[in-house]
Amino acid sequence: MKLLFALLLALMAVGAGAAESPDTATDEPAATFEAVALGLGSASFREKTALVERLAGFADPRVPVLLETLLAGDLYADATTGALYIGKADPAPLVGATEASAPPDKLRKVITNNSLRSALRPLIAATRLRDPDPEVRARAARTLIGEVPLALTPTLEQVTATEQHSEVRQALRTALASVQLADADPGVRIAAVRELADNSDKQILTLLEQRARQEQEADVSAALAEAIAALQAREKWFAFFGDLFFGLSLGSVLLLAAVGLAITFGVMGVINMAHGEMIMLGAYTTYVVQLLMPEHIELSLLVAVPAAFLVSGLVGIAIERGVIRFLYGRPLETLLATFGISLVLQQLVRTIFSPLNKSVITPDWLSGSWQINGMLSLTYNRLYIILFALAVLVTLVGLLRKTPIGLQMRAVTQNRAMASSMGIRTGRVDALTFGLGSGVAGIAGVALSQLTNVGPNLGQSYIIDSFLVVVFGGVGNLFGTFVAAMSLGVVTKFAEPLVGAVLAKILILVFVILFIQWRPRGLFALKGRFVED
């Protein structure tokens, strides 16, 4: 397949060359680097792929720069002469023009598409194999695994023989082995298979499996089967860890969304349908914070956490003082009133910020993933959210257990009359508790703004899950909320690959309903005299 493709490319290159200068023959590249490069601006995608393959063959020092600029989408061509420039605002001449020559009239971007970009990557990697920085060399070698263009194999062999750095040499040998899998000599093939068997990489497993399907030689087939079995066993393990990580990260999102509700609903007993909107307000606060500090996006989230806590907390206190305190002991009215509030808040946000979703920028330290090996990578945003959720939980537990206000909160929720007669201003404590729960929901909003769309409906998608977690975990019990969130997250993520996302959600709901039938007070029921019947 690869060979065929290369042949096809070569043919096309000939075609393209012939179109430019009829006397060009394949074995003597009469066309200069300049001549080939100048054709880039007006070529079609297919022609461009052939042109860059040819360009990579020239020893001109401008080749790596040209290819990299093209990949980065920063290469511009003069519409009339085809001269190439880097950048548009302040074009730096690259090919066919100099600083001295007249400035270009009209620059057109040399556009790339997927197939061109994927052709470019190994070509660029090949030019980097002799880079002085071992990091760059190692990355280049890894790019080449399974993707080595045929023409590059001798270069690769040469570089591998001379490479001193052990890590880079390992990567080079893997890349080389990936080509040697198709070598004519069975001995070389077996050596290549042995070389590859030690890697934990999904791509290598695929290469081996493909080879196993074509292999004729019995010895090589046996070696292949052995290597594939070893890799598959490792893959299974890493897939398990991957699912576990997904589950824990979903669990921590649930925990963040539910922990505020665990306070307002769990501790105070208020059915707060506007809880989701508190989360939404937190997410919008993040958006506003980023608008206010466009220069310091990396730090914006650190500012947004306390800001969101304050905004949602104050709105929560206002709701408690304005509406809910008149409705204590009347759950149905509370439910309807808070549902109304949630609609009002949504429409308010729609009026102020427009119904369109707002884009919250993800700082660089939250993007990308931590590549542990070729089979397991953990995304940074999820990793940080797990840590963040745990930190929020620990802080809350500390606050409730170790501080005077926490003591008062517990006292009021356990026995209001007694607490009141001990001199606690129960009204104030109610407001603060509700404010705390809402504020924590706001913090959850900051975290969710990194995962999902920030729009007026953000809260609605989390309200049901939040109630589910709190009820499942046991009302009034933060530890129960934690265990419930994590177990629901993990169960969902292990069920999803088996039954699909829709059915997984249904199964979880059914499971929780049955569980509540069996244990109406949830996983960790509160015990003691103050528990009402």
């Binding site: 995608f45 989408g73 556009i111 598409n113 997927n114 197939s115 970009r117 994927s118 990557r121 999904k202 791509q203 497993l205 695929t206 290469l207 499996e209 493909q210 897939a239 991957g242 699912d243 997904f246 990260s249 979903l250 999102v253 429409q347 729609r350 427009s354 119904p355 369109l356 979703n357 707002k358 884009s359 920028i361 993800t362 993007s367 990308g368 993933s369 590549q371 990578s377 995304t379 940074y380 945003n381 999820r382 995962l451 999902t452 769309n453 729009g455 007026p456 409906n457 609605q460 998608s461 993520k493 999803e496 690959p497 699909g500 996302a501 829709v502 959600k505």
Partner: protein, 439 residues
């Protein structure tokens, strides 16, 4: 005591009834009076609720077109008047509001609906009251109502060409059909699956995945796609994931290091609007199939964008495919009304068949007797600036097919409202009859 109360309430009731009657009369009178002076254009797009994000733009588009037509001197010597109602993303409310527009406001035409379920909810109302609805969004097909004109893409004008492109130009052999769990993705994926199998793709090389509305945790699905895509054959994702759920999906793709070069995603409901204001650098190279892109370089498009920016007073607002469909639908209706010389629904309907108006991509849109239009199909790759770079397009406009040829049960059905021998939206070419329902 009892009797007096009853008498009192009776009297009150009579008075109220009289008042109501008078009010109705007055209303009817004023409506009749208005009808003589203006032509009413109903706008049935959600301005609040979930769908407001997409539909508000279309309301503004209709208002802009009405405004522009009035500046040109109106239509048939009368001014156009837009009547805007808000069905609030609530499907039953769509039917109520449509009834209100037709029965109370007596509008001559309605532009509206986005989701298929809202259209299905409006259908019986416009058919019963003989209204005229222009529907501007790409949809799953399998429908042709006498009273609805579909100016968005049918599956053969979006999904099928996109799959052809991936198969023939990109060399894709393994397919992930990912969608949100509702009628449009389900039907589209059913058609696509039948089409792929027809083209010789093995069942093992097709993975179908549905997610609930507003799904935001894409970790497992992306990692499944990654696993499915690492079998050594070129893999692509055909996404019918609904509107804004795409953003976390693409984010997760980027975070897990799936690039468009390895596994391209072609989306049918991601347009300029969805990408605006979103950091598109991890999405570069992913694809979308539409009948219009804002980046298309034609003079008609330039003029349209200029008008839009002037009307909305924000030079950063983007244009998108459903806006073009609204534009085409509006111009077709104007032309048909001019031809018919009246806004009477039946006369306009008969006049509109075969009419053509320029679209924004340099071609023409013709209204076909099956109430669909001809459209070019464009495939674009997402660029860093949130715009699309056209990488492929059909040589000429593709006529919209109401009933797909790739499902056995609908291959034998055809729609033709012009041919008196057929004159229905679901003519069975085998039994030579129309099925009982109207659509």
């Amino acid at each position: 005591m009892k009797t007096s109360i009853r008498a009192g309430s009776k009297r009150r009731f009579t008075r109220a009834a009289l008042k109501a009657g008078a009010a109705t009369l007055a209303l009817a009178g004023s409506a009749a009076g208005f009808a003589a002076e203006t032509i009413k254009v109903g706008v049935l797009h959600s301005l609040s609720g979930t769908m407001a994000i997409s539909e508000t733009t279309l309301k503004d588009t209709v208002l802009m077109l009405v405004d522009e037509q009035n500046k040109k001197g109106g239509l048939l010597g009368k001014k156009l008047e837009a009547v805007v109602v808000d069905p609030a993303s609530n499907w039953p409310l769509f039917a109520e509001k449509a009834k209100e527009l037709l029965a109370k406001d007596k509008v001559d035409v309605i532009y509206g609906c986005w989701t298929s379920v809202s259209r299905k909810s409006v259908l019986p109302v416009v058919e019963e009251l003989n209204g005229m609805l222009f529907y501007p969004v790409q949809y799953e097909g399998e429908e042709s109502s006498k009273n609805v004109f579909y100016t968005g893409a049918a599956p053969n004008q979006q999904a099928i060409p996109a799959v052809d492109y991936l198969m023939n130009e990109v060399g894709v052999e393994r397919w992930v059909l990912a969608g949100t769990d509702y009628v449009y993705p389900r039907t589209t994926n059913k058609i696509l699956e039948a089409y792929l199998k027809d083209k010789g793709v093995a069942a093992g090389d097709i993975m179908i995945n549905y997610t609930p509305f507003g799904h935001s945790d894409w970790q497992t699905i992306v990692s499944d796609i990654k696993k499915f895509g690492s079998a050594g054959k070129k893999t692509a994702v055909v996404s019918t994931i609904n509107g804004d759920a795409n953003v976390p999906f693409y984010k997760e793709l980027g975070n897990q290091g799936v690039s468009a070069e390895d596994i391209p995603v072609v989306a049918f409901s991601v347009g300029e609007e969805e990408l605006s204001g979103f950091d598109t650098s991890p999405l570069v190279g992913h694809l979308a199939a539409w009948n219009y892109f804002m980046s298309v370089d034609t003079s008609e498009n330039d003029a349209f964008i200029k008008k839009w920016h002037a009307f909305i007073k924000d030079p950063k607002r983007v244009t998108n495919d459903p806006m073009e469909a609204t534009y085409i639908g509006f111009n077709l209706w104007v032309k048909a009304v001019e031809k018919a010389g009246t806004t009477d629904v039946d006369a306009v309907r008969k006049a509109i068949y075969g009419l053509d108006v320029p679209n924004l991509t340099g071609g023409t849109a013709v209204m076909l007797p099956n109430h669909h239009i001809t459209k070019p199909v464009l495939i674009g790759e997402i660029q860093e600036d949130g715009q699309f770079q056209v990488v492929w397009q059909t040589d000429e406009e593709v006529p919209g097919d109401a009933w797909t040829d790739y499902l056995p049960e609908s291959a034998k059905i055809t729609a033709d409202w012009q041919d008196p021998a057929i004159n229905c939206g679901n003519y069975n070419t085998e039994t030579k009859t129309c099925s009982g329902q109207n659509y």
